[in-house]
Symmetry: C2
Subunit: 194 residues, 2 copies
């Protein structure tokens, strides 16, 4: 899956960053750390309160079994108020590498493990107001090695889907989680027969 860096990309634009004049934390709860920055733009304009949500990095896992089935989960998501298909995913714990977090989350949520792992995609949930990254890992030839170990607040079902079924979900926008859809579409593009 790993590709050499693409040589033809245009030079990275160099707009100057904003100057932080003042920083104020509104909340530092475990699931809601938010600050507002008073910032000055290179144009001189001052914005009094730019909101930034601070999170540790996140991971999601595109795991495929030896039989070629995608390990997809479904769970009710309270922000959107819907039950949707998505990838196993979670937050990095303090001190973990993203790969360690990804292996832990796949195991906890599905009981699957083993296999060959590589980084598929690193991206931002929303560079405007999130300070963290979301790392997508590809895990090939995984096997069920235990039962799932979900947290109390997790009600997760596991679905072993074929590539065609996952592609059909993507084409219908049934994978609503943008980070997961991005990683899955990248994978589909890279592995499509041409």
């Amino acid at each position: 899956m790993t590709k050499p860096k693409q040589g033809i990309k245009p030079p990275h634009p160099a707009q100057r960053p904003w100057r932080v004049l003042e920083r104020r934390y509104l909340d530092r709860s475990p699931w809601h750390t938010v600050r507002t920055d008073r910032v000055q733009l290179p144009t001189g304009v001052v914005v009094p309160d730019w909101y930034v949500f601070e999170f540790l990095d996140w991971v999601e896992i595109l795991a495929i079994t030896k039989e070629g089935k995608f390990v997809i989960i479904s769970q009710y998501r309270h922000g959107l108020g819907e039950t949707r298909y998505e990838l196993p995913a979670g937050s990095c714990d303090e001190g973990e590498t993203p790969l360690e977090s990804a292996k832990r989350e796949l195991f906890e949520e599905t009981g699957y493990g083993g296999g060959r792992w590589e980084l598929l995609m690193t991206k931002s949930p929303n560079p405007s107001n999130h300070n963290n990254h979301a790392h997508a890992f590809l895990a090939l030839d995984v096997e069920q090695i235990d039962v799932p170990h979900n947290e109390e607040s997790e009600d997760i079902r596991i679905h072993l889907l074929s590539r065609e079924e996952v592609l059909a979900l993507l084409l219908d926008d049934e994978i609503q989680q943008s980070m997961h859809a991005a990683a899955l579409w990248k994978y589909m593009y890279l592995t499509e027969e041409r």
Copy 2:
């Protein structure tokens, strides 16, 4: 670009929603409306404070000129603290349809307009903690019809890139915005010659 609904996709999962026992708004600022819900899961477990960020819907535009160039912008993004390539995008105003918002945002940020428009993808920024959707529109054969009309807090540069250049950015994870990467990868998959 419009595809018929896929017949081979698995049935929609049917986990039951959570019951909201209490709802409390922490903030209702224009750029930060956040609530916590005390919720009861179908398992009986009570979670005292599930955070939900409330936003109006968002739009992003994949605009391609008559000459086949992608209208890409770059701007400094203070959450991530980096200047990145992304799609023209913005928030729906109250009472606007997503298509109206998309046409307005493309015009304001780039001065481009006209062309043939269709919905490319609707998705959730993050179904766990966002209540809104992000709609990606495809706009073909757009033309520059005016200069950009940016807001004071926007310092946006416009880049007319070839399909190959945009693909190179995607392959290098240079499009960090997950919602935009998802829409662009979907487009690349659908339009790749096979």
